[in-house]
């Protein structure tokens, strides 16, 4: 938090460079969005507005592309990024219920981030760990063969980790 404004400035500069790099190329929008998301972690209104102006396309078109491709995010990601596999194997074994439980415990919907910035929740496609179905990932950690009852404990362990580090 302490460096908020200067970070914002460097990020804005980086965005300008990205736009300048692609400006006159055909099909610039998607690569620019990708790189902008790497800088900001997500694509808020202000960033999409700059991209629209910079590439001379409408904001409606930019937003249309952002919402068409699942890899773009409109919301910031949490320190702990939770991905719930909704691939067929996991889904059949109840990952939908796990997702709902997470949503209930964290009070956020798909694609959103908790207000303290700790957790974000996303549904994802098959992560290739079907043997462990149903599976969720929190950053690099994989949790498999879950039941709905496991969810509160897992979330609590991250809260504990946070408390320890303080």
């Amino acid at each position: 938090m302490s460096c908020g404004c200067c970070c914002a400035d460097t990020k804005a500069q980086e965005l300008e460079q990205i736009i300048a790099k692609y400006k006159d190329q055909r099909g610039a929008l998607i690569p620019v969005l990708h790189e902008a998301q790497e800088v900001y972690g997500y694509l808020p209104l202000s960033v999409q507005k700059k991209i629209a102006e910079g590439l001379n396309v409408s904001l409606a078109e930019v937003y249309g592309v952002v919402t068409f491709y699942t890899q773009f995010s409109l919301n910031p990601k949490g320190k702990y990024k939770i991905n719930v596999c909704l691939g067929t194997a996991c889904y059949v074994k109840g990952s939908g219920d796990i997702f709902n439980k997470l949503s209930e415990v964290l009070k956020i919907k798909n694609g959103e981030c908790t207000s303290d910035g700790l957790f974000s929740l996303d549904a994802c496609r098959c992560v290739g760990a079907c043997g462990l179905a149903p599976v969720i990932m929190i950053n690099e950690d994989v949790y498999g063969r879950l039941t709905v009852d496991d969810v509160p404990g897992i979330i609590q362990s991250y809260f504990d980790k946070e408390a320890e580090s303080k």
Binding site: L45, S46, Q48, K49, S58, L59, A60, E61, V62, Y63, G64, T67, F68, L74
Partner: protein
């Protein structure tokens, strides 16, 4: 001469110009292929697959996109084609909020017509209704995504014709929706309220923000003096709502119907159009003589004004400071007329009937209340007027003609043609010589500025002063011309801009004609004809000859561009942000 190819459609030999589509060839041969997303010249993207035909390829092809070629064999009607189209339509219908009974577009809905034409008796799929919120926060346009069939006709017109791009398709799969970025309400976008999306929409997903109830209420309020004005283009469109052919002028019946609805006075906006010419012509002469900001650009079209405020804020000084005829009229009614008739302006309720949805937004502009009261209280579109006439049980077709009321019912031919592209320019050029020299020239019919060509130019010379004028319609065309002017590639003294293609006759508040009618008829040209006819038949054809207007100056406004007119008949503009900085 274009080259022709010969093809067979359903066994019939058909000649068609090279480069045309199977759909065009079939229609010209009297063979009907159903369409939904196709709208001639506006949306030709092959999205809905309603128009599939067999061209001997592995899969069926969209006739609206498939080019004709020599020897091509096309089948438009077979059991398999019929079944495929039915499935496509039933899938659309399965997730459609089918509330025809209470839908604005019932009986004028292309989806309803298709269901009938394809003989749908049963919908075999159970789709999920999305229950999207309705956006009714704009003063002009209401969007109901639950009735949207995702044909993208509105998107194309907004993006390609108007170059506003306030809406686009968002998301993917069954969550696809046509919306504004970040699902903002339309009012927070650069939407200019032109309503071209409404008249392009095949279904009830887009409509105007209705004022019908408010007008009924005012009409039954005994304390109010409720008057109405009708814009020129309304008389050229209204008849279509009562099954008259496109381009039928129904001025007299319209006036009778308005009287029957209970309006105390029925006035003609054309009178204010004549007044506008006096003010705007004087402004032009003044700017030319005194090295003012040129080109002077017309300010009658509120869609264009908002477009300029969003996209060309550096050109706001070019805009004429004249209010639009609608608002001049309101201001006159609440000042001059109130005084003359001895009515408290607080009790005067001014309704305008306009071919335009942007007029609703204009009426709400806080700066347009120079008498201390809003110039205009409610705006009805041509369509809403038809709704009221029908609701009142008036047998429109059998009405006698009547005349507009005094003292604001007399207009010149110049005022009438305001409703078509080029009309304001022609009217101005009929009066500018007089305003410059006190004498008329011989030019009354200035035909070069008429018609649907995208940019029209004219040059007149008065007393050695050359006046170069240009006329554009449709905001995409306006954008091109403005960019040229800014780049120094074109130079004019006077430019007329109308937001809607074809001008007000084709405004977003006019009767909606289905794609099938627009396939054969150019609505812009047909409706404009009706206005030029009325002009031809007028005894007075120059605004400065209008005795009512001259009297208004004599009794009240003193002179064009004078102190009182500046206070009441002129306005100013503001630069606008295209989107808010942050979402609330």
């Amino acid at each position: 001469m274009s080259e022709f190819v010969t093809l067979t459609i359903d066994g019939k030999e058909v000649k068609a110009p090279k480069g045309s589509t199977v759909l065009e060839a079939a229609r010209s041969a009297g063979i009907n292929i159903p369409t939904l997303c196709f709208l001639k010249d506006i949306n030709e993207i092959g999205a809905c697959r309603m128009c599939i035909v067999d061209v001997g390829a592995r899969s069926f092809q969209a006739a609206c996109m498939y080019p004709v070629s020599e020897g091509l064999k096309v089948i438009t009607n077979s059991p398999k084609i019929r079944e495929t189209r039915k499935v496509t339509l039933e899938l659309i219908l399965s997730s459609h909020e089918k509330k025809c009974l209470t839908c604005v577009r019932s009986k004028n809905c292309e989806l309803q017509t298709l269901a009938k034409e394809l003989n749908i008796k049963d919908i075999r799929f159970e789709g999920e209704l999305q229950n999207y919120p309705i956006d009714d926060l704009s003063h002009s346009v209401v969007r109901d995504p639950n009735k949207c069939v995702l044909c993208r006709r509105c998107v194309s017109v907004c993006k390609n014709v108007q170059t506003v791009s306030a809406i686009d398709t968002m998301g993917r799969g069954y969550k696809t929706i046509v919306a504004s970025p970040f699902h903002m309400p339309l009012k927070d976008t650069p939407c200019v309220n032109c309503g071209q999306c409404i008249v392009a929409c095949p279904v009830g997903a887009l409509r105007e923000k209705s004022s019908v109830e408010k007008v009924w209420e005012a009409l039954s309020n005994k304390d109010l003096h409720v008057v109405v004005q009708t814009a020129p283009a309304v008389r050229a469109g209204l008849g279509e709502e009562f099954d008259y052919p496109v381009g039928t002028r129904v001025t007299g019946k319209m006036v009778t119907a308005l009287k029957m609805l209970g309006f105390a006075k029925v006035f003609d906006t054309d009178t204010a159009a004549d007044l506008t010419i006096m003010e705007e012509g004087t402004e032009l002469v003044d700017r030319i003589k005194n090295n003012g900001k040129l080109p002077l650009i017309t300010s009658c079209s509120p869609g264009w004004i908002k477009f300029c405020e969003h996209f060309y804020p550096d050109m706001l000084d070019n805009l004429s400071t004249c209010k639009s005829p609608q608002n001049m009229f309101g201001a006159v009614l609440k000042s001059y007329y109130a005084e003359k008739m001895g009515i408290d302006p607080a009790k005067i309720f001014v309704v305008s009937v306009m071919p335009c949805t942007a007029k609703k937004y204009e009426a709400e502009r806080p700066e347009l209340a120079s008498t201390g009261y809003p110039d205009i209280d409610e705006v009805l579109t041509t369509r809403e007027l038809a709704e009221m006439i029908k609701e009142a049980g008036i047998d429109f077709k059998n009405l006698e003609d009547s005349q507009f009321d005094d003292p604001m019912g007399e207009a010149t031919g110049a005022g009438v043609i305001f409703g078509a592209t080029g009309g304001v320019m022609e009217a101005a050029l009929r009066s500018v010589p007089y305003l410059l020299t006190g004498k008329d020239d011989d030019n009354v019919d200035i035909k070069v500025v008429r018609g649907v060509e995208t940019v029209k130019e004219a040059e007149v010379e008065v007393n050695g002063i050359k006046i170069k004028a240009a006329v554009v319609h449709g905001l995409g065309n306006a954008r091109k011309l403005l960019d040229k002017i800014k780049a120094g590639e074109a130079e004019y003294h006077f430019v007329e801009v109308m937001a809607c293609p074809g001008g007000c006759v084709n405004g977003g508040g006019q009767p909606i004609q289905p794609a099938s009618v627009r396939f054969d008829l150019d609505l812009r040209a047909e409706r404009a004809k009706a206005l030029y006819e009325e002009d031809q038949g007028s005894t007075m054809r120059r605004s400065h000859q209008n005795p009512r207007v001259l009297k208004m100056y004599e009794e009240y406004f003193e002179k064009p561009g004078g102190h009182k007119s500046h206070k009441l008949l002129h306005t100013h503009y503001v630069a606008r942000e295209n989107y808010p900085e942050n979402l609330e």
